[in-house]
């Protein structure tokens, strides 16, 4: 098989697959609203179970967690938004109820430090590279 034939096959398969993906996804109704259970679960994994050791509300099997899960479902049924429910929990239990402190105050360093280290790492990898085409550059310089 020639290179050209191989490229054609790859191209044809890829295009066909892309058509199937786009058509398949477009054919489905857009993102439906999450069910109340799904919304409750998404909130429960963001909240720490108070009085538990290092477990989220979603994961804990303690009675407290169970009661609070019922509470979240009730608040959703009453029409509260996700943010309102989170705010209520923060008001009742303090910021430490959140399992991700986010970008506020103490949360900043938590996000900034890995980004900083990543930047240093990328810089180190680039530095380790032999300057591309040094001989060519020096030739150009001499001209």
């Amino acid at each position: 098989m020639s290179e050209r034939t191989r490229n054609l096959i790859v191209g044809a398969v890829s295009v066909a697959a892309l058509v199937v993906i786009v058509a398949g996804l477009a054919g489905r109704s857009g993102p439906t609203d999450p069910t109340p259970q799904e919304r409750a679960y998404q909130l429960e994994i963001r909240l720490k179970c108070p009085f538990c050791v290092g477990e989220s509300l979603a994961d804990s099997q303690s009675g407290v967690a169970r009661d609070l899960r019922v509470l979240i479902e009730r608040r959703i049924a009453e029409g509260a938004t996700d943010q309102e429910i989170i705010d209520e929990f923060v008001a009742n239990y303090g910021e430490s109820i959140l399992l991700d402190p986010g970008g506020k105050r103490w949360g900043i360093a938590l996000w900034a430090l890995p980004v900083l280290l990543g930047a240093v790492g990328v810089y180190a990898v680039v530095r380790l590279r032999r300057p591309a085409g040094v001989p060519v550059d020096s030739e150009a310089g001499s001209r």
Partner: protein, 679 residues
């Protein structure tokens, strides 16, 4: 009697470890010849460890409750397997097992050190020094042979640290922690982890030996290649079995919670994996000499940190089973290891700082660097997230919680980048990868990835992130398989049969293809993690006997209850019938249970899992009254693939063990540029 025997074993181990450290250093000074005193020290260490371990097991199996550890952690009603495991399941016993493994590794290593071998003898001395710490712990703050001198209310209320004197024994022991006697995996998972943890002591010992003696080059890497891989294998197996245990036992429907102790096992895995990759770069290209020292020191330090986090109770975690002076001792050891290793490294930096430079980032070694960058960043982020609550508490006294939402957010993008780098990096040529060559080698993967995503769309997946993972995994697998077929095809063109051609390609580079099998396992694992978490269906049913309810395409019928009373526990089970969502097509009988252990107030839900070809159905009792039962029902697509993919990763590691080592530089080294090169 048993206590005294065991304690003498510990003392023998401690003394032998000290003499090993001393005679090892002396042998290095005398030119590296392994003398009789070194051999005797190794023998003494092994013997001491075996006596201590055997004595503890003997005491456990014969219910010698005059030994405080045995009275606290076992009972006459404990089933045999868990009784056996009790010898190492709790704090002091785990350190005895650790010591046994360390002594075993030292013994095997000593068998490979012959004649004049300064590097090897130095490594033995380091092993001895590390063993001094662990046996010192056993002899002092974590003494498993402390005897019971007073019994009040049936429990041991006072102990004597030195096992001589009047021992009294309670009539019955307290029994193991319920979580530890709920599943057979709990007898296997911790020893696997320990073998991984302890195994990384050997590469560390060689690194320190090489640094201390100023031995340049890759000799220490070549000699520890198999050790690192074996440690990695055990660590990988330990982590996967731990996840499986969590899934099968804990009943919350998951296998990984970013719990501090899970992270503690994951951190040395990440850095150890980075080390195994960067070691290849040094072996092949002579690059990253300093970096390899940093990685191996970090891996070893992280195993100590992991043990510290698990055993000190400094971070609240469901895994932290105990609190004692062991925590401070481990912390002190960690500080000593870090300070002395890094000081030594700094003192020797001039010996390792020159290495050839990268010709192009788009090359095999360039992708190894990218891999190292991602894995290091991954580890750093997990470490930061794990310790952050402690740091903030120390700095400001504020309480902060870091959990799954944070770890998911930061690690998912890193995992995507890692998969992409695995796909391209596995097949990129060394030195410089021409775009044309890269395209030739990856185009099959591109088509496979897109086709896999299209297939997923056809079978009903709509989640874009999940489709992304499937496409990337397809890309990785397609690229690797395509590269293999290409090479086998070249052999066939030269006249070999298909089977012979494939086998020759495979056998000629077991290290490479073993690695690729692990990469395929990783890609499958990524798919399994994505589908089983993002596409999971969760529901709760309130059922009375005879009722049925529907969750996620399944119908669950509550048939009745049963009770089993065994000497160590009472099992309250419910019989459930799992049906298709028409509530008539039978799928399986399931029996989720709640176990109550003697002497433990906490009841443990024991889930029942039906594993189908496509998905797992997971039933766990969440509560209930006399009439109804509250049942958590989870459906996890491709959950079984998590375990299978883990197995494939381990299989790849085994294959790579068969690798022929390159003791010489086989690639022409590029001219060094010492005046500029820094790591």
């Amino acid at each position: 009697m048993i206590a005294l025997l065991g304690y003498l074993g510990v003392l023998l181990g401690l003394v032998s470890a000290s003499t090993l450290a001393y005679t090892g250093v002396r042998a290095v000074r005398r030119g590296g010849r392994v003398d009789e005193s070194v051999r005797w020290s190794v023998t003494g260490l092994a013997l001491g460890a075996i006596v201590a371990f055997a004595a503890l097991e003997l005491g456990v199996l014969t219910h010698d409750f005059s030994i405080a550890y045995i009275a606290r952690n076992t009972a006459t009603t404990t089933p045999f397997v868990f009784l056996l495991a009790s010898g190492w399941a709790a704090l002091e016993g785990s350190i005895v097992l650790w010591g046994l493994m360390l002594a075993g590794f030292t013994w095997v290593l000593a068998g490979k050190v012959r004649g004049d071998d300064r590097l090897g003898v130095g490594a033995l001395a380091v092993m001895g020094a590390v063993a001094v710490f662990w046996f010192g712990m056993m002899a002092s703050v974590a003494n498993p042979f402390a005897i019971c001198t007073e019994v009040i209310g049936g429990t041991c209320s006072a102990t004597s640290w030195f096992p001589i004197g009047n021992a009294v024994a309670p009539l019955e022991g307290l029994g193991p922690n319920p979580l530890l006697q709920n599943h057979i995996l709990m007898a296997i998972h911790p020893p696997m982890l320990y073998l991984g943890y302890v195994g990384f002591t050997v590469p560390f010992a060689f690194a320190i030996s090489a640094l201390a003696q100023g031995v340049q080059g890759k000799a220490w890497l070549v000699r520890t290649h198999r050790w690192s891989l074996i440690a990695w294998l055990f660590l990988t197996a330990g982590i996967i079995l731990g996840g499986w245990w969590s899934y099968e036992v804990l009943g919350w429907g998951g296998y990984w919670a970013w719990d501090p102790v899970e992270n503690a096992a994951f951190l040395p895995w990440l850095i150890g994996t980075a080390f195994i990759h960067s070691a290849i770069v040094q072996e092949r290209r002579g690059m990253l000499q300093a970096w390899n020292f940093v990685l191996v020191i970090a891996t070893f330090a992280l195993t100590i940190l992991g043990t510290f986090l698990t055993r000190s109770g400094v971070i609240a975690s469901v895994h932290s089973f105990s609190q004692s002076l062991v925590g401070p001792a481990l912390l002190a050891f960690l500080v000593v290891v870090l300070v002395s290793s890094l000081a030594l490294f700094a003192a020797r930096i001039h010996l390792v700082a020159s290495s050839p430079r990268l010709d192009s980032v788009v090359s095999r070694e360039g992708f190894f660097l990218v891999n190292n960058l991602i894995l290091t960043l991954f580890a750093f982020t997990v470490l930061l997230g794990t310790l952050y609550p402690l740091i903030i508490d120390a700095l400001s006294g504020r309480e902060v919680s870091i959990g799954r939402p944070f770890f998911d957010k930061v690690t998912i993008p890193l995992a995507f980048a890692l998969l992409l780098a695995v796909g391209v990096g596995s097949i990129a040529p060394w030195r410089v990868a021409k775009p044309q060559i890269l395209w030739q080698r990856t185009r099959g993967g591109v088509a496979t990835g897109l086709a896999a995503a299209a297939f997923a769309v056809v079978v009903g997946v709509s989640s874009i992130p999940v489709l992304g993972v499937i496409a990337l995994a397809g890309f990785v697998i397609g690229t690797i398989v395509g590269f293999f077929l290409r090479q086998a095809g070249a052999r066939r063109a030269a006249g070999a049969g298909l089977r012979e051609a494939s086998w020759t390609v495979f056998r000629n580079d077991l290290g490479y293809w073993g690695g690729q099998i692990s990469h395929i396992g990783l890609a499958l694992l990524a798919v399994a993690i994505a589908t089983s978490s993002a596409l999971a269906v969760r529901g709760q049913l309130q059922l009375a006997v005879g009722d049925s309810g529907v969750v996620g395409g399944y119908c669950v019928r509550y048939d009745g209850t049963f009770q089993e009373v065994t000497p160590n526990r009472i099992v309250d089970g419910s019989t459930m019938t799992l049906l298709r969502d028409d509530c008539s097509t039978f799928v399986a009988e399931l029996a989720p249970r709640v176990n109550r252990y003697r002497g433990a107030s906490q009841a443990i839900a024991s889930p029942a899992v039906h594993t189908g070809i496509v998905e797992d159905v997971y039933l766990s009792i969440a509560g209930g009254s006399s009439e109804t039962i509250a049942l958590d029902v989870f459906v996890f697509p491709l959950q079984w693939l998590v375990w299978v993919a883990g197995g494939i990763m381990i299989l790849g590691g085994f294959v790579a063990l068969g690798r022929k080592l390159r003791r010489r530089d086989t690639l022409p080294a590029t001219p060094p540029e010492p005046e500029e090169s820094r790591v």
